[in-house]
C-alpha cells in the first residue's frame, strides 16, 4: 500500500522520467532559532518527565508500604544527586507546562505573528526559569 505522501514524493525530471523528489534537509542544516529549539526542548522535557514519573510512583508506593520504605525514598531524594534530579524535574515540569500553555494558545489561533511567537518563546523561558527558582527558594526556606 502506498501512502498519499509517498505518491506526492514522485515527480518528473527534465527528461520526463519519473523520479523520487529529494527530501527537505533536516534540523542540523538550519540555523538554530528559538521556535525550533523550544520545540525540541518541549519534546525532550516531555520524555524526561515521563522518566520522572518513576520517582513519583516510587514515592507514592513507598508511602503506602512502610516507614522504612518511605525513609529510603526521602533519603535518595535528599541526597545531592537526588536534589539535582529533582531540580531538573522541576525545571522540565515548568518548561513543559508553560510551553504547553503556549501550544494551547496556538491551538485556538492566538500568537501566530512572527513577533508574537518569538516573544512568547522568550516569555516561556523567563517564566519557567522564574517559577523554578521561586519554587526552590520557597521549598528551601520552608524545608
Amino acid at each position: 500500500m502506498k501512502d498519499m505522501r509517498e505518491a506526492l514524493m514522485v515527480g518528473r525530471n527534465s527528461e520526463g522520467r519519473l523520479v523520487r523528489r529529494p527530501l527537505s534537509p533536516h534540523l542540523q542544516i538550519y540555523r538554530p532559532q528559538i521556535t525550533t529549539m523550544l520545540s525540541v526542548v518541549h519534546r525532550a522535557t516531555g520524555i524526561g518527565l515521563a522518566g520522572g514519573t518513576l520517582l513519583l510512583v516510587w514515592w507514592l508506593a513507598a508511602a503506602a508500604t512502610s516507614d522504612a520504605a518511605f525513609a529510603t525514598v526521602q533519603a535518595v531524594i535528599g541526597s545531592i544527586p537526588g536534589l539535582v534530579l529533582l531540580f531538573l524535574w522541576t525545571l522540565a515540569l515548568f518548561f513543559h507546562l508553560c510551553n504547553g500553555a503556549r501550544h494551547l494558545l496556538w491551538d485556538v489561533g492566538l500568537g501566530f505573528e512572527k513577533g508574537q511567537y518569538r516573544s512568547s518563546g522568550q516569555a516561556v523561558i523567563i517564566v519557567a526559569g522564574g517559577l523554578t527558582v521561586f519554587a526552590w527558594v520557597v521549598g528551601l526556606l520552608m524545608g
Binding site: K2, A7, V10, L93
Partner: protein
C-alpha cells in the same frame, strides 16, 4: 530513505480514509483532542501538586499520608495521575511513531510503552487509595 529505481504513483488509500483518521497510528482526531484536554487539566493540577508538595517539604510519612488522605486532595491527586499518565502515553506514542522504524519494532515499542504506563499508573493509583483508606 531508499531511492526506488522506478517510482510509481499507486495510491491504495483514499482521501476519505485519511480524513476518517485511518493514518499510520490507526487513529486520528481522538488522539489530538485527548492530548489537548489532558494538557488543559494538567495546568491547574500540576501547579496544585507543586504547591502541595512545597507546603509539606521536609516532613515525614505521616504528614504526607494525611495530605493524601484528605478527600479533596485524594481526588485531585487521582485526577492528576489519570491525566498525567494518559497525556504521557499519548506523547510517547508520537515519539515512538517518529523514531522507531519498522512495523515489528514499532508495534513492540508501543506495546511495551503502554504496558509500562498502565502498570505505573495502577501502582500510583492503588498507592494513593491505600493511603486514603489507611490514614
Amino acid at each position: 530513505m531508499s531511492q526506488p529505481e522506478d517510482p510509481t504513483l499507486a495510491i491504495m488509500r483514499s482521501a476519505l480514509g485519511r480524513v476518517r483518521g485511518l493514518g499510520p497510528a490507526r487513529s486520528g482526531v481522538k488522539h489530538w483532542w485527548g492530548q489537548r484536554v489532558t494538557a488543559l487539566a494538567l495546568v491547574p493540577l500540576g501547579l496544585w501538586f507543586v504547591y502541595s508538595v512545597l507546603s509539606m517539604e521536609g516532613e515525614g510519612r505521616l504528614r504526607m499520608a494525611h495530605w493524601v488522605a484528605a478527600p479533596v486532595d485524594t481526588v485531585l491527586l487521582l485526577a492528576l495521575l489519570l491525566a498525567a499518565f494518559h497525556h504521557m502515553q499519548l506523547g510517547l506514542q508520537v515519539v515512538i511513531e517518529d523514531y522507531v522504524h519498522g512495523e515489528g519494532a514499532r508495534t513492540l515499542a508501543q506495546l511495551a510503552m503502554r504496558a509500562l504506563t498502565v502498570l505505573l499508573a495502577l501502582t500510583a493509583i492503588v498507592s494513593v487509595l491505600k493511603l486514603a483508606f489507611t490514614f
